[in-house]
């Protein structure tokens, strides 16, 4: 922002701008801290402080550790207060949608691993379900159970990263190591079932690649038992930590209206107080069989929709995932795990949009087939992409150090933003 050329009238009364309730960016219920709610207008600031100041524009990223990847934010700051933010993305754009039109249906599966590399099982699931919807095939029940177990374990793993790195962003180093300890266990479980630790391509069109090895389900049960205890430690370690709470409560409040208008989904939407989870609202696979709750932001530490609420939703969701995995383990039966499909898969002409609940929100796959070996169009709706788009709205008004807290609480994965 260039300093205004109009010099303020020196004799004018130096009053802080007070906006009537219900006007301005946020209404009464969703106010930021009044002090930072609206930076003073230039003329008024100069009258109050009697100095000329100038807004500064600076880059945060693309190599900043708190941007969780290669995100560049152009920030405009007035001293310590952020007055504007423009995200620049696309640094690791890999043309996923173009590739989707150029390779065969089954060949595309490994590319899905690479959008949200922290939740590759869920990505595999979303893509497979979209193609299966077009094919119109039934999935063996055991395969659906294994899919659900893997997806929920991956959700725990992904939320553990969110938990660990969020602490790291805000200066708490220890939780990061603890969270990686548990995640390591999950990764080794995945390694046992499919051989890969990060990019699985395990959930396939028609089921899962192979059956679980002997003893694997018992190990999952052991993990669930252990994790419940560990989760309590994590909660003690970070959630109630007063420094952490004061860094996150009342910071980066996202109102319900904003959350919906910007298409937020997943923990970001639930953090703003809306109990909307696709696993409950529009259940797919086996989710209507299981009992679990949808954690929502409660405003327990501050305002509904602040950073702490989004963090807390993720923490609570990990426990719900454990509940689901336990119910899977109780219900799983012997049986086949992969429907019979020809290797050169031709998908009947048609189109299908399938949205599933990823750890970060709704992952949508919109596929159009012309009845051929390749797709006409393969559209991917990544939750991080949409969640990130709220930054220009959520950041202005916060302190510069709190910008890190807001970005971390949205929990983006740049692989998915850029696709």
């Amino acid at each position: 922002m260039v300093p205004s050329s109009e010099t303020p009238a020196r004799g004018a009364a130096a009053t802080l701008p007070v906006k009537p309730a219900g006007q301005g960016d946020y209404d009464e219920d969703f106010n930021l801290k009044p002090k930072f709610a609206t930076p003073l207008a230039r003329n008024e600031r100069e009258m109050v402080m009697d100095v000329r100041t100038q807004d500064m524009e600076m880059n945060m990223g693309p190599q900043h550790p708190s941007t969780h990847g290669v995100l560049r934010l152009l920030l405009r700051v007035d001293g310590e207060i952020v007055t504007g933010a423009v995200p620049y993305i696309g640094y690791i754009h890999r043309c996923a949608e173009k590739i989707g039109e150029s390779v065969e249906w089954i060949q595309y599966l490994p590319y899905t691993d690479r959008y949200d590399y922290l939740a590759a099982m869920n990505n595999n699931l979303g893509y497979s379900m979209a193609v299966e919807k077009l094919l119109g095939i039934e999935i063996p029940e055991r395969a659906m159970y294994i899919r659900t177990i893997c997806a929920e374990l991956n959700r725990i793993g992904s939320h553990l990263i969110a938990f660990g790195t969020y602490g790291l962003d805000l200066g708490a180093f220890t939780p990061f190591f603890y969270s990686f300890r548990e995640r390591e266990w999950i990764l080794s479980l995945f390694e046992k079932i499919c051989g890969a630790r990060l990019t699985y391509s395990y959930i396939r069109i028609g089921g899962v690649f192979n059956d679980s090895p002997p003893g694997w389900l018992e190990e999952v049960a052991a993990f669930c038992n252990d994790f419940e205890e560990k989760w309590k430690e994590y909660n003690d370690l970070l959630s109630e930590n007063s420094i952490f709470v004061s860094r996150t409560a009342n910071v980066g409040v996202i109102s319900v209206e904003d959350a919906l208008a910007f298409g937020l989904t997943g923990p970001c939407l639930r953090g703003s107080g809306i109990a909307y989870d696709l696993r409950k609202a529009q259940p797919y696979e086996l989710y209507n069989k299981f009992e679990f709750d949808i954690p929502v932001g409660s405003g327990r530490k501050g305002t509904v929709g602040d950073c702490w609420d989004r963090y807390d939703v993720r923490m609570q969701e990990m426990r719900e995932s454990v509940k689901i995995v336990r119910q899977c383990l109780a219900g799983i039966q012997e049986g086949p795990t992969l429907a019979k499909l020809s290797a050169a898969l031709r998908v009947p002409a048609g189109h299908a949009y399938v949205g599933i609940e990823n750890p970060r929100g709704e992952l949508g796959h919109f596929v159009i087939s012309g009845g051929d070996k390749k797709a006409i169009r393969l559209r991917v709706r990544g939750p991080s992409f949409c969640n990130l788009s709220i930054l220009p709205k959520a950041l202005p008004g916060t302190m510069l150090a709190d910008a890190v807290a807001v970005i971390g609480s949205i929990d983006i994965v740049l692989g998915e933003v850029d696709r």
Binding site: L135, I137, E138, G263, Y276, Q282, I376
Partner: protein, 193 residues
Amino acid sequence: MASDPKPTTPEPKGAAAVPRHWLPSPWDHSLEKLKATLSSPGGPCDANDLKIVPWGAKQCEGYIDVPAAKIADICKVLRDDPDCRYEIVMCISGVDYSKEDDKLAIIYHLLSVANNQRAQIRAWVPKAAPEIDTVEGVWAAANWHERETYDFFGVVFRGHSDLRRILCPEDWVGFPLLKDYEFPKEYHGISCV
């Protein structure tokens, strides 16, 4: 695209044999109802302008084709009408069906949290001069989705606040997801072949 589809599974026989994937999801908005809402007196368009498109033999999901000129008004109704209440635009997909087509499709995937339902509407724009009104004023999320559609298809969204490339580099030439797109030989001296 017309090599005839060869489904790998046998045709379902009788209602009991129909796999659940084929059935319209219970949360899909009935297209007839949606059409009635949009063409009701005082609504944004005429019933003749709207065309229900069941795609494929078994209709997984359908679109409603809407006139591109009225897209902003239609979206506003879809957001505010009590039967619709589509608060979230999940994504906006451009589609280039084939090289021979002279039109591009823009598909809006909508989700209503309040009514727990989904709908898809489709508008056509000419490929020679693809232009359509922005719906940024209806859903703020449309900002980035429209930028992405511009980036990949070159569709110009009239009235958009910040229409520039979002994922490709700013100096990228051409619109990669068009079917007649030619791959560049090199980019800033880096060979692409």
